[in-house]
Structure formats: structure tokens, C-alpha cells
Amino acid sequence: MRTTYRDAMRAALRQALADDPRVFLMGEDVGRYGGCFAVSLGLLEEFGPERVRDTPLSESAFVGAGVGAAMAGMRPIVEIMTVNFSLLALDQIVNNAATILHMSGGQFNVPLVIRMTTGAGRQLAAQHSHSLEGWYAHVPGLRVLAPATVEDARGMLAPALADPDPVIIFEHGSLYAMEGDLPDDTRPVELDHAAVRRPGRDLTLVTYGGCLPKVLAAADALSAEGVEAEVIDLRTLRPLDDDTLAESVARTHRAVVVDEGWRTGGLSAEVAARISEQCFWDLDAPVGRVGSAEVPIPYAKHMEEAALPQVDDVVAAALEAVS
């Protein structure tokens, strides 16, 4: 079935709400407004205001309420409009959701799912464009997902809800309108493995989320130049699937990591370090990285484009790695 990432996400939400009475969705404008990115459009009408709850502009309070409701036996799905606004709830996510199981000596688990958009590319400037998923991937106690395909948008929510611990799902804003094919029998996807989105022998391009389409385009361009890149979509940013990375790099001997975060202290640094640790003797070149320029994302189109990783940057980094 042909569908969009947005509709796939909505279908997953609808199914979760229909299948389990403990599941409810809450967040700013998820109901009457239909979701700030129209993901939850129509769900209020279908499931009512108890289960599709509009919240006040109180990120810390409603994320914290999600933590509490999860511990009390519900399966909340909390939507935060964007990762930028999640900073107002950082305390609840990092100091509560991620720690309570451990702090309580294993007594209280927090089966909470938090969804939020991330990323740039729509000229929304520095308070609406950052990619901070790497920060969350830093924190033990959280599982961090980044669906990059329509199938993952459809399939990741169910296993996230089945997880006894907090899961954060990052939806890149530029993916919502992307179309893709969905198999008719929608099975939950498994979350433990990265996916090889394109096989190749000459180098490994590692990416996730909103950068996947760019990296696939770069791989096509490289192919035209006779370089066959393998493209790995991390899918789960915490815990990272070391085996898939190592297996690929052991074959290709070269790797470039591409993401929209800043490189300094970023997720790409972690991935590159892991490749170096695991594959040092297999590598024929230093692990390359392509990330955003180390600036707050600017508004002007040409400056925003210059700040973000582009297909050409990926191609150039790949060519350098194989040169």
C-alpha cells in the first residue's frame, strides 16, 4: 500500500489506541488542532478526549504526568511538538523517566513512549530546527528510535509500547510528506538491529532519520562514479547495534557517518569511535563524518542549506574515504 510517513504514523497510533485500553495520547494540540504536524488528525473524533488529550503549554508537567501514568499502569504516548521544546521537559525525561527504575532498585519501571519531531530544512531558524536526539542517546535508561522509512514509522510504535522502559521516537520533520510502500500485513518491526538500506562493497555510509534519503541519493551518485556504498540506517540510536556496523565495515574497510547533529560531542562521534574501537585493524581510512556546521541553524535558505549536510557533502566525504 502506498502511503506517507505521516499517515503511517497515524495508522500506528490508531492501532495502538484501538488495541490497548491503557494506551492514550497526550500533548499540545494533539486533539482539536489535529496535531501540529497533522499526525493525530481525526484521532480525537475517533477515540474521544479522555484518550486523545490536549494539554496546556506545560512540557515539563505533561511529560512528568506521562512518567507517573506509566508507573500507575497506563501506556501513555506523549507528543512533544519538537525536540527544541523538549528541553523544557528535559528534567522529567533525564532525571525521572530514565532513572526511576535504577534508583528504585528495579521496583518501578516507566513504560512511557515520547514522540517528537526533530531536524531542520524548513527555514524555521534556530529555535525550531535543531537535532538533539544525540543528547537523549547519551542517557542510560532510555531507548531512542529514529524511524526513517514509512515502514518504520508504521512499525516502531507497537514494539516501543511493548517495551517496559521509556522510549523516545524522533520523527524528522522533513519526512512526514515522504511516500513509501507499506506491506499489507503490518507487523511490528524489531528494534534491535540497524538496517542495511543498500548493499555495497566499497564503503559504509552510516546514518539515520532525516539524513537517510540524502545518503541514499549520495549512494546513487557515487554508484555513477563507480563507488558502491553500503548504506546503514541505525534506526535505534540507543542502544546502538554494534554488530551490524562492524560486520559491514569489516567488508568495506571504510566508513563515513552522516547525521544532522553537530559533530562536537555528537552521536556521529560516538558511532565513529565505536567503529574505530571495533574495526581498527579492518580500516583502510580514517572514519569520516558529515554533520551540521557548528552554528545555530540560520533562517536564510542559502545559509540553512550551507549549515546542513547535503548530498554533495556526503559524496565528497565518501570519495575522500575511498581515495
Partner: protein, 332 residues
Amino acid sequence: MTAPIPTAGQQPVTAADVELLRQMLRVRRFEERCVELYSSTKIRGFMHLYIGEEAVATGVVSCLGPDDAVVATYREHGHALVRGVPARSIMAEMFGRVEGCSRGRGGSMHLFDASTRFYGGNAIVGGGLPVAVGLALGDRMQGRDRVTACFFGEGAVAEGEFHESLNLAALWRLPVLFCCENNLYAMGTALELSESQPSLALKAAAYEVPAWTVDGMDVLEVRRAAAMAVEATRAGHGPHFLELQTYRFRAHSMYDPERYRDKGEVAHWRERDPIEALTGRLRAEGLVDDDVLAAMEQEVAAEVDDAVAFAEAGSDEPVEDLTRFVTSEDQR
């Protein structure tokens, strides 16, 4: 300490008030042009219009002195214009030009201008309030008798930062004028659906902040309330809070299906258009006539035309400058 603003009967309108009309008209016509420019993709990103709410910024800012500071939200074209940020540099900013007031780095939501002490342009709901408290703290500690006017929507009242800021400002008796633009909806969420206690003035009163509820569609009322509040704030009586009851005539941002309010309600509020209301009163007193109004329209149109031409003729910042201003250049 909560009180409806002391009434003095309807404010008499004087010749000087023609300037308030002119300011509101500048905002209205500027934004109407922005809509066209957005459709033709000259302006991009999120753009939030102030159309319908012009009396609020116009009335409040008319009471500020040149050394006072303004902190606003992403819905701040009007505040910037009436504060004296040139229309040219605002339009250029929205075009993403280097000649823009934020060098094209901010866009519609992040207008900044040091020369008018205009501190943004903040797109995190509630994010400006603590900053306003800090500006006032800095002024107070340096013995300046400045006031910081901080604008925010009623949606921000649900954020922790609202409560933390009011408390701190009151505790330290800081010269902040909190201006809550209550347009009834935070995106699609009505005030009653987000506040257990929808009286905003009561909330301010809980922090011992004097609070007045004001008809935000009547620029003369806004000015009267703001004048009193600014004076008291400047005199060292601590922060004051104005709830300015207003309405946005358009969508939350450029596109919005408006499933959350009905057309009748919008039509009802449109009948209270602050520009038409003041025009009517000025006319009735014989302070403006068709000729004066036509001349004013013409002058405003010329200003907007000039701003657009300036923005069109502007230049893109060289990409080599991308990493400038991440850290200060002066220290290096």
C-alpha cells in the same frame, strides 16, 4: 491586588491620537503585504500575524521611553514596527537578507534590534519572560530607571517559566511590565481548556503583582492602562501585569485549518477591529476625514513599498560568514 482597571469613562480622543491610528495602520498594511509575499514564497518558515491585535503593541509601546526594553514572541512584527525598528530592516529580515535586522539569521520569528533595545523575537513559548526579568535586574542593579516590557500570549501562562518569572520579579521588585496578549487561543487550545483558573489577573495577584484586565481592542484603553503601569513600574513599585484581551483575526501561523473556533466568533471579533474603532472615533470628533485617511494610507503604502524594494534589492550573506557570531568577534 487584582482590580479591573480603574475606569475614567471612555477616554477622550485627541488630535495626538491620530498617531496611534497611523502606527496600527503601519502594522496592518505591512502584514497584509507579508501575506502576499509569503504566498509568492519570498518569505518562508513560520510566520505569525498580529492582524487584529495591533492595539496592544501600539498602546503599550507608545508609553515606553527610548531606553526601555522590549521582549516579544514570534508574533512580533507589530511590536518591532511600533518600537521603531525600520520597516526596511524587518522586511529584509523576512527575506533572509543580510541587511535584515538579524542579518537574515532569524527570520520572522526572531527580530532583534539593539538600537531600540528590542530583544527578540523568541519562539519558545514562555522563553522571553526570564530574559525580561534579567534585563530588569541588570537595569536595577546599575541604578537605571528603565522598564522592560515583556509580551507573551496567554498560552505561556501554563509554562513554568511564567510562574517562576513573576515570582522572581515580584520578589526582587524588578521593573518588568508583563503584557499578556490574551487572544483566547494558544494555537488550537482555548484558554478554558488549558487553565483550571482562567482569570489571568488572579494568577499574577497570587505573586503580589498588581494586575489589570484591559480591553485590548481599544488602543486608548491600552495606552491608559500601560501609562499607569509603566509609571508605577518605573517608580520602583515592582512588576505590573496587564491582561490585554484581544483576538487574532487570522490563523495561528500562515496555514491552519481553524478547526478549533467557529466563523461566527471570528466575525464577531472582526466587528471590534481596533483600527476601525479608532478611525470611527477620530472621525466623529472631526480629527480625521477622508483626505487625511487617504493621505495616511498613501504614506503607509509608500513605507511598505519601500521596505519591499529594499528587501528585494538586498543581498544574501556570503556563505563564508556562516560561522560568524557563534562566539563574539570582539574578544578575538
